[in-house]
Symmetry: C2
């Protein structure tokens, strides 16, 4: 396990507005904080969104797997170390290690990103400025398999529309909004007395303002494991596939 | 105008996830940051939500008027000074002065709060620990009139449901979510090339998880002024009334 001082961290003090109905840091807020830490680290390494836009490129999150060891609460500090790990011609991976104010590890996550042409919206090779970055000499979390697949009938569903506050400056739905939408279709009361222990996300297709999306939750043979799907009925495309793992809430 | 060092401030670095489709700090995020600054100041003065809960009391925002002089963008720092101003038997007022990283005033806001019994959900007198607080010796923004009233037919409407991520630990909808819902019913393209200059909000009734709400925008005789209403069709209650003022976006 990474030590809290092994790599530069960005510190976020959890705000009351980031607490959800369970009293813990809201999952969409955690996803936003991980993404913010990624942005900040990429900026320090010279491949921020602004750096890439000079070349007509953008980067986008394809896979994200989060393990929550201890959920932060209101007023806690979450210090996140985030750094690139693996890299090939098209994909770059990034790990996250989150610590609380006492230095205890509370969150671990790994992710896979790709770059795309902002004009043609098609995938591109990683540009030289990303190929040139030195990967830190630290232990990395396991590489994520590229895909997630499941079959099964939903036990809960919900429908939602992509709204103003779900989209970024490019009118693309942000990843935090997807997590909100997926978790609107949670089985009621699943999250009390249970809490989310891990979430594995595969972001497949981009969506835009006013798209109508359908969220589904699918049970598995394990009572503490679920599949989730967000799809766009208008064209039948899968938008996000996810798998969640839950545990009984431990007050400690 | 208050000087940036006239009173203690809390600093917030604007995150990419807080930027909306216009490229500016999202209005719901601004409302959250003002509320966070209020919470932090109340805590330092001894009447935080936790302090009041010992007496079976809570405080709730009834009125909020925001003037945005310059919209913060991604990576900007917003330093907020917030302090109580006027106070009587039932109501306490609070001002906010927001500054950017250069010390320039960017946001001013005033607000009115009341306390209520968390058990009976009825309004209570301000408790002694709030009556005892010394109000700072600073110039205050004008007191807000208690009510907002308008009539007129909506030019745009929208319907939404109170979802998991709209509610706080008590399953009450948070004020930031109300602002999201109100602005889902904005006339399309109003906010480009225009930008919000002021917003006056009256929070009338609380709502809960899964309530269905209707948002309306009503035009006025001024092309840059609108009324907004959020209501609950199930019981016909008004939830939020608001008035917005807009200006042409100034790149400076």
């Amino acid at each position: 396990m990474l030590e809290p001082d092994a790599y530069q961290t960005d510190a976020f003090i959890i705000r009351s507005s980031e607490i959800d109905l369970t009293g813990r840091l809201a999952l969409p807020s955690l996803v936003s904080l991980l993404q913010e830490a990624a942005n900040l680290n990429a900026g320090r390494l010279g491949f921020s969104i602004a750096d890439l836009s000079v070349y007509g490129l953008g980067w986008v999150l394809m896979r994200l797997k989060i393990n929550i060891l201890h959920w932060p609460g209101d007023g806690d500090t979450l210090r996140i170390a985030s750094f690139p790990t693996h890299r090939d011609k098209y994909f770059i991976s990034r790990d996250y290690h989150g610590f609380d104010q006492t230095g205890r590890a509370v969150v671990q996550a790994s992710s896979t990103w790709l770059t795309f042409s902002t004009e043609s919206r098609t995938m591109s090779q990683l540009p030289e400025l990303m190929q040139a970055v030195t990967l830190p000499d630290l232990s990395y979390l396991p590489k994520l398999p590229p895909k997630l697949r499941f079959s099964g009938e939903p036990i809960y569903t919900d429908t939602c529309r992509v709204r103003r506050h779900h989209v970024d400056h490019n009118r693309h739905t942000n990843n935090s909004a997807y997590v909100q939408m997926l978790f609107d279709a949670l089985p009621p009361h699943l999250d009390e007395p249970h809490e989310l222990a891990e979430l594995d996300l595969f972001f497949k297709t981009e969506t835009f303002l006013n798209d109508v999306l359908r969220a589904e939750t699918v049970a598995t043979e394990q009572p503490d494991q679920f599949w989730h799907r967000l799809s766009r009925p208008a064209d039948g495309k899968d938008i996000v596939i996810a798998r969640s793992g839950w545990r009984l809430h431990d007050e400690g």
